[in-house]
């Protein structure tokens, strides 16, 4: 099996998060039919940045949902070759229950992506160095969409990339490093290519399922061939799944709760305790300093520190609670500890997400001085208007083993790591259980009950980020192909 990455065939988003392109806008659209879709792909193909492209002043990426693939004319049996989660989509009732998209996060209340709404067929992600360039690129895209008769479902604006997410915490510190990418050389711990890029060996040394077409379906030889040697045309290779979820963050509610829960006996506010409780929920201080290394107070010198574990230094969670957000998102060596740190890390590495999200709404924090926001904002003040949050994006090779596993088994699981009723204090849903946050301590723990829900889902869909060759293949599909609905399609 070839393990050398074909960088020129991989969309550049897999290789970089575009920290040099701080302005971004994501357009979700509905495709009326194959011809319109093909026109868009043709227009965009020369503009898509690859992992081999030099960094420019803008970048563009395109992804399609299963519904979008159908609209492009891809037959149902080929779509069934993708992961079942992708083929079914994010919003079936069973999947909503599984992902915790219930009550206030239920698709029925979403702004976009819900079943009764216009179909989220595709997604264009634009990144730029300046707002002017972004506006120009977006205007070009808009006229292309109009010309093709493609309808915008929603345009998701983002905030200028800062180093704080809306709750006010330094974010994006711990990212998996893909083996085989140029920048992986500096890293001591890398994850196999196939964990994020289809068609390469994954953490088990195997190729994840992806749509393979008989060679006859690709007479122009646009697609690479199955690296396993079957001779089939590999529609999945060099692509990956892209999860997009609009997560609205109740910033005022979060800090208000932290203030209420830490009031002194005389009723006055205790700013230090308030930040400390918020940090316990996150697992890092606002600066980013990890609690296991800075248990008592924030230490901005450790803002990007990612070199720590839990197994030896903090097994009971006295520094970083067992249920803290970062200890769930990436438990490092905290789980299955009986098998030892190395084995535990290896298991955790099979559930990593490559995060590419961008914040939206109002700059709640991060642009002000250290901790300034948290202290200054009165506890009872409402959150910023118009909605603030994160356009969460993650890239994975397996929706079930990576994104859905982390969402269900780690974040939203009230019984995570031996807990009883604790979902993720920051992002977790509280229905039907999970409103407890336990802070281990000496001599005894402190338990916060009735935690409000701070994050609500406002929209979302599963997309596939195809390789350049797959885009070329999709572009030339017969425009008259009528594909059957995925629900009735069966796997080979």
């Amino acid at each position: 099996m070839a393990t050398r990455l074909d960088l020129a065939n991989i969309q550049g988003l897999l290789a970089r998060g575009y920290s040099g392109l701080p302005y971004a806008r994501f357009t979700v659209f509905a495709i009326p039919g194959p011809a319109a879709g093909h026109a868009l792909v043709s227009w965009l193909l020369p503009r898509v940045s690859t992992a081999a492209s030099p960094a420019g002043d803008s970048a563009a990426h395109i992804a399609f949902s299963a519904a979008g693939m159908r609209q492009l004319g891809l037959p149902g049996d080929v779509i069934a070759g993708f992961a079942a989660e992708f083929a079914e989509g994010m919003v079936t009732p069973d999947r909503s229950r599984f992902l915790g998209d219930v009550e206030g996060s239920s698709p029925s209340s979403w702004d976009w992506g819900a079943p009764q709404r216009p179909s989220a067929d595709g997604l264009v992600l634009l990144y730029a160095a300046t707002p002017e360039i972004l506006d120009r690129r977006q205007a070009e895209l808009a006229s292309c969409l109009t010309a093709a008769g493609i309808r915008e479902v929603t345009v998701l604006d983002t905030l200028e990339l800062g180093d704080r997410e809306p709750f006010g915490f330094h974010d994006g510190i711990s990212q998996p490093v893909i083996r085989g990418l140029p920048m992986a050389g500096r890293s001591t711990r890398t994850v196999p290519e196939g964990e994020f890029i289809l068609g390469y060996p994954n953490a088990y040394g195997q190729l994840t399922d992806r749509p393979l077409l008989p060679a006859s379906a690709d007479p122009r030889h646009l697609l690479p061939r199955d690296p396993a040697g079957s001779g089939a045309a590999d529609l999945g290779r060099d692509g990956c799944y892209l999860v997009l979820r609009q997560l609205e963050q109740d910033v005022g509610g979060f800090w208000g709760y932290a203030a209420e829960a830490t009031r002194r006996p005389d009723g006055s506010c205790d700013p230090q305790a308030r930040i400390a409780l918020a940090a316990k929920m996150v697992g890092r201080w606002p600066s980013g300093a990890p609690l296991v290394k800075a248990p008592g107070a924030d230490d901005p010198r450790l803002k990007d520190d990612n070199d720590f574990g839990y197994h030896d230094t903090d097994p009971d969670g006295f520094a970083c609670p067992l249920g803290a957000h970062v200890r769930r998102m990436n438990p490092r060596d905290a789980l299955d500890a009986s098998t030892g740190s190395e084995q535990s890390l290896a298991v955790t590495d099979r559930h990593r997400l490559l995060r590419r999200g961008r914040a939206y709404g109002q700059h709640a924090a991060g642009t002000t001085a250290e901790n300034d926001h948290a202290i200054r904002q009165p506890p009872d003040s409402p959150g910023p208007r118009g909605g603030t949050g994160l356009h969460f994006i993650c890239l994975v090779a397996s929706l079930s083993r990576q994104f859905e596993f982390v969402q269900h088994t780690w974040l939203n699981n009230p019984n995570f790591n031996g807990l009883y009723d604790d979902t993720d204090p920051l992002t977790g849903n509280r229905h039907p259980r999970g409103g407890t946050f336990s802070v281990p301590g000496q001599p005894v723990r402190r338990r916060h009950r009735g935690l409000p829900q701070f994050v609500r889902v406002r929209g979302g869909a599963y997309f596939f980020l195809p390789s350049l060759s797959a885009l070329r293949y999709l572009e030339q599909l017969p425009a008259e192909t009528v594909s059957e609905p995925a629900a009735t399609a069966t796997a080979r």
Partner: protein, 422 residues
């Protein structure tokens, strides 16, 4: 405390009754089994229970196997009491269920006829795993209540400035004061002397017999290993993937509470070699779960409450059924990461399993093929009952350790460790 038994009752369903049974199962799935007409919440010592339908099929030689209704329960012994409860407490529901089956005496039949019928339709498991042997339903419930009482006590009082030893002392005093918790200061009673004697005898007798048979077994093992390896070379990789409608049916009944039911059914590979291998492996599993993995862990997996391996149709088919914590993806990952060798040894003898090497290697290590084949062979469990829907196996074990830590003296460090259980 009682030991736990796994009861399997299976009865054929005539083809023309299958649609009605399917409709009935869909209705019961909505209602659940806890209340009327099953009232399983009042069946004594019942931990988990389920009904599922095994569709009509044909075996590897093309012989028809009729559809059947399967009932499984994980319950505290004795069996006699449980069968009686099924008729006396859950009778209305049990009548409703088995009236779809050929030969059921019917709602109007006498009690002892129904019990006899249920008894006759039992299928024995080759191996039955209990997370912690001897931990009965009453104990699980009591210890959960104990933990909640202690947590409430922690919430209500101020603890800053106390040492761990002081805090533990205060909690012990709290328990001692409360008449309703006084039991917690005593250790749980072990299962009966008869049960323990039987298990001890089994524990010693099996290895002793093996040692005696060793001179015969060793050469046989050598020949067996070679034959098996030769047979394995004919095994094909799994290319079948579960269909979307099948996945949709499975997920319709999954992920409502902390635990999930799991059931797979598949054919045993043809030939004497595979049948004997399967039997030998299950004999070993039976020994291991009774004497080695009898406390809180199945070879490293801590999320399984109960599991059983039940041969069906004269060893032509095998079913594996369990009650486990979390989602099926995490469960399968545990299989792959922790007990791949155990899965291979058993299911490597099943049709459609990823190819194994020397029975233990390969198989579950082929992640995607393994997950696909499990999902393909998984049977939906529309009607399922759990007595403690929010407790994980880890929670239950933790609760038992909390109770255990109420007794005796502890060093300050041990007292702190104990307090961390809360």
């Amino acid at each position: 405390m009682p030991y736990q038994i796994g009861v399997t009752i299976r009865a054929p369903v005539a083809a023309d009754r299958v649609p009605a049974l399917r409709a009935w199962l869909a209705e019961i799935a909505r209602k659940g089994l806890a209340e009327s007409p099953f009232d399983f919440a009042h069946v004594r010592g019942l931990h988990f229970a389920r009904f599922c339908l095994l569709e009509e099929t044909a075996d590897l030689e093309g012989r028809a196997i009729p559809a059947s209704l399967v009932f499984m329960s994980e319950v505290d012994a004795p069996l006699r009491r449980h069968l009686a409860d099924l008729v006396d407490v859950a009778g209305e529901g049990v009548d409703d269920a088995f009236r779809h089956c050929t030969g059921y005496p019917g709602a109007g039949a006498r009690r002892r006829h129904k019990i006899a019928w249920l008894r006759r339709h039992q299928v024995s498991a080759s191996a039955f795993y209990v997370n912690t042997v001897g931990r009965g339903l009453a104990q699980i419930r009591q210890e959960a209540a104990l933990r909640e009482a202690l947590e409430d006590c922690l919430d209500r009082r101020e603890w800053t400035g106390r040492t761990a030893t002081e805090a533990r002392g205060e909690l012990r005093a709290h328990v001692a004061q409360r008449a309703d918790l006084a039991w917690a200061l005593r250790p749980p009673a072990p299962p009966s002397v008869v049960f323990r004697a039987r298990e001890a005898l089994h524990m010693v007798a099996v290895p002793a017999a093996l040692v005696l048979l060793l001179p015969v077994l060793l050469p046989v093992l050598g020949v067996w290993a070679v034959m098996l390896r030769l047979a394995e070379r004919g095994d094909q990789p799994v290319t079948e993937r579960p269909t979307l409608p099948h996945l949709e049916e499975l997920s319709r009944y999954e992920d409502f509470v902390t635990q999930n039911p799991f059931a797979v059914v598949g054919f045993v590979k043809p030939g004497l070699l595979r049948k004997l291998t399967f039997r030998a492996v299950l004999f070993a599993i039976d020994y291991a779960v009774r004497h080695v993995y009898d406390h809180a862990s199945l070879a490293g997996i801590t999320t399984i409450h109960f599991a059983r391996w039940v041969p069906l149709d004269g060893w032509r088919r095998m079913t594996f059924a369990s009650d486990y914590d979390g989602a099926v993806e995490a469960y399968n990952d545990d299989f792959i990461n922790i007990v791949w060798w155990g899965l291979n040894a058993a299911f490597g003898n099943g049709v459609g399993y990823p190819p194994t090497r020397w029975l233990l290697w390969g198989g579950a290590q082929l992640e995607q093929q393994f997950k696909n084949t499990l999902r393909c062979h998984q049977v939906a469990v529309p009607a399922w009952y759990t007595a403690y829907p929010s407790l994980s196996a880890q929670n239950i074990e933790n609760n038992a350790r909390i109770r255990e830590g109420l007794r005796g003296d502890m060093s300050p460090a041990d007292a702190q460790r104990w307090l961390s259980l809360l």
